[in-house]
């Protein structure tokens, strides 16, 4: 039998049993829909995160205390280690050590209770310099950011996030009011706009102040939690990062790179790291969705076995009229592959449509800068896998059909 007629026969067979065919493919449709949805949303999330990381500027380099391995698990493990000292700041600022360095911003972090009159709120403390406004592209809705002089003079000033403002001040104007953070009074100099809840860097809960102020009045420490460095325009970021590593190793008197008590991260490192996390998460969800696909495959096999029994007479007749075992095998196999292939196509369309609708919801409903991504890889994979499922789960029933003896089959009532 020619392929053309095998395909024609398979289509006729499926049309003759239309409602059963539709029921059969539902499992595959659900599985492929889930995979498409997960892969599309995973890719969208990854794009969103990467665009935010890249939005920080590719010239930004971060130094964190402790040796952060390349795996994402120990990402924040050494956040509060004390290895970054003021001496490091001096060493790095020296043009002889790091010629490509344009600016350096020490960062200290903490969590403190803040009060204003009878209102209180637990804030995330972010001690930095005036550079923070340009690095994170922050523009206050009201007031002015603190200045380099405020950092030098350890001014007790604070820039508060939108949630801090609403929790402490309600509808009152916070500008120039005094808030109390862990028993110390700070003057509010600026309020930040709401970041919308979907941003990677959420300043809504934060109180930003000069790092010197935070170290002296609140944290009582001399070290830094981070050093944020801006490479000079045109400087090679990798070279600058290497210079920083060399300088810090010297300053800390460490020669063995595996014993470094700090890690230098470029934006590329961060992007890669976050990329690994979202990719791992996406594949984990794809694996979950694959279970649905597997169950769908079992369903196909089950229904195909019933179909083979139901069509025993037809098989006998075809054999009596000259069909070979291979003709019968091919007929049922093609039916199975067609079923799952069609299921796969429906799943691809359904999954990407749902992902598109969800993308619209995320960008308009939540105001995120969410881009719909059509997962080409997922589509090709999904279609291939569903056809393969037809082949795998259809082969046993098709084999059963092909081995039926024509007389047994013709006698079957």
């Amino acid at each position: 039998m020619t392929y053309k007629h095998l395909i024609k026969t398979a289509i006729t067979g499926l049309e003759t049993n239309r409602s059963r065919s539709i029921l059969t493919i539902i499992g595959i449709v659900i599985g492929i829909t889930a995979i498409m949805l997960v892969m599309s949303l995973g890719a969208g999330a990854q794009n969103l995160i990467l665009s935010q990381v890249q939005g920080l500027g590719t010239n930004t380099i971060a130094v964190v205390p402790g040796l952060v391995s390349t795996s994402p698990s120990s990402f924040a493990a050494n956040l509060y280690s004390d290895s970054l000292k003021p001496a490091d700041l001096t060493a790095l600022e020296s043009k002889a050590n790091v010629p490509g360095l344009a600016d350096i911003m020490p960062v200290v972090l903490g969590s403190e209770p803040a009060t204003y009159q009878s209102n209180d709120y637990q804030v995330t403390l972010f001690g930095a310099t005036d550079l923070i406004a340009s690095i994170f592209d922050l523009t206050p809705t009201a007031g002015q950011f603190f200045t380099a002089d405020d950092v030098t003079s350890q001014s007790k000033v604070a820039v508060i996030g939108s949630k801090v403002a609403s929790n402490l001040f309600g509808n009152d104007n916070p500008i120039n009011q005094q808030i109390n953070v862990n028993g110390v009074s700070f003057q509010v100099v600026a309020v930040l706009p709401s970041s919308g809840g979907g941003s990677l860097f959420d300043f809504d809960d934060m109180t930003i102040m000069p790092y010197t102020t935070a170290q002296t009045y609140l944290l009582g420490i001399k070290y830094f939690n981070r050093l944020i460095i801006e490479a000079a325009p045109g400087a090679n970021v990798e070279v600058v990062a290497d210079d920083i590593t060399t300088t810090l190793a010297e300053s800390h008197n460490i020669t063995d790179p595996t014993k470094y008590d700090f890690t230098v991260q470029t934006q590329q490192d961060l992007a890669n790291r976050l990329g690994i996390i979202t990719t791992a998460l996406t594949w984990f969800l794809v694996a979950m969705a694959s279970i649905a696909l597997f169950v769908g495959g079992i369903g196909i096999m089950n229904i195909m076995l019933v179909a083979v029994t139901e069509r025993t007479r037809e098989i006998g007749l075809r054999k009596a009229l000259g069909a070979t075992d291979r003709d019968i095998l091919a007929q049922f196999l093609i039916e199975a592959v067609f079923l799952t292939g069609i299921g796969g196509l429906i799943g691809i369309v359904l999954g990407s449509s749902l992902a598109y609708l969800i993308s619209l919801g995320l960008s308009y409903g939540l105001g995120l800068n969410w881009q719909f991504v059509f997962p080409w890889f997922g589509a090709v994979l999904g279609f291939g896998v569903s056809a393969l499922i037809g082949l795998v789960f259809g082969s046993y029933p098709a084999h059963q059909a092909s081995k039926k003896s024509p007389i047994e089959a013709l006698r079957y009532e």
């Binding site: 039998m1 020619t2 007629h5 026969t9 006729t12 003759t16 007479r313 037809e314 007749l317 075809r318 054999k319 009596a320 009229l321 000259g322 069909a323 070979t324 075992d325 291979r326 003709d327 003896s405 024509p406 007389i407 013709l410």
Partner: protein
């Protein structure tokens, strides 16, 4: 040599035996059967149910293999054929007509008749013409696009005959072809079968348990308990066309 063709045997069976192992016990369907069928002969095989006539038809029709003995089809021992070769022989040389028609449901008369062609090496360009001719020869040209459930029993059996004819086979095996039909339709079907034998020279092997049907043939083999009880020529052959006109 064409004039000698009718002298050749299309079927030669020698000491044919067929038994089924049914658990511990062995059921013998055919004990020891030997006979020959000439090309162009019209043979009826008769016998009560359980006599082995269906088993014999299945073996002769290459749907089943004998347990022992030899079967020469068209001069060649069928023992040596592979499954694919048997399928090709069934397709090219043999036509089947079954008691229960066995037409594909929800498939037009034309498509049903074309079914054997799909498994043949006949080029597709000839299919429609061949099928149409076969359908015409059984008088159903006006029913070409109908589906089996829109036809009467007699018409369905005529479609089955057209399907058996479409590959132009040498032998037609008819297994109780009138068994599910009323007497008028039955006679009509028998007249067509008789015509295939007389006008087209096809070998017909008819299985029946009714003497009146068997007497349309030239020769009757009676089977009882898997053994040939008698093998004789029909003296007063019935002519289906005559009865049909009445």
């Amino acid at each position: 040599m064409a004039h000698l063709a009718f002298l050749m045997n299309i079927i030669e069976v020698q000491n044919l035996k067929k038994s089924y192992a049914d658990g511990e016990t062995e059921t013998i369907a055919l004990a020891d059967v030997s006979f020959t069928v000439r090309k162009g002969e019209f043979l009826a095989i008769m016998g009560p149910s359980g006599s082995g006539k269906s088993t014999l038809l299945h073996v002769l029709g290459l749907l089943d293999e004998p347990s022992s003995g030899s079967y020469l089809f068209d001069g060649k021992n069928t023992y040596s054929y592979t499954g694919d070769e048997l399928a090709r022989l069934r397709n090219e040389k043999i036509g089947f007509v079954f008691q229960s028609f066995n037409l594909l449901a929800r498939t037009s008369v034309l498509e049903n008749v074309k079914l054997p062609l799909a498994y043949s090496s006949i080029p597709e360009s000839e299919w429609d013409e061949r099928a149409a001719k076969a359908i015409e020869s059984v008088g159903l040209a006006h029913r070409m696009d109908h589906q089996p459930d829109e036809l009467s029993g007699g018409e369905r059996q005529r479609v089955a005959i057209a399907r058996a004819l479409v590959t132009n086979p040498d032998v037609i095996f008819a297994d109780e072809p009138t068994g599910n039909l009323d007497s008028k339709s039955g006679k009509n079907v028998m007249s067509i079968i008789q015509e295939l034998n007389e006008k087209q020279g096809r070998t017909i092997i008819l299985i029946t348990h009714e003497t009146s049907t068997a007497e349309h043939s030239e020769r009757i083999i009676r089977l009882i308990d898997g053994v040939i009880e008698s093998d004789e020529k029909v003296v007063n052959r019935l002519k289906a066309t005559d009865e049909y006109i009445k």
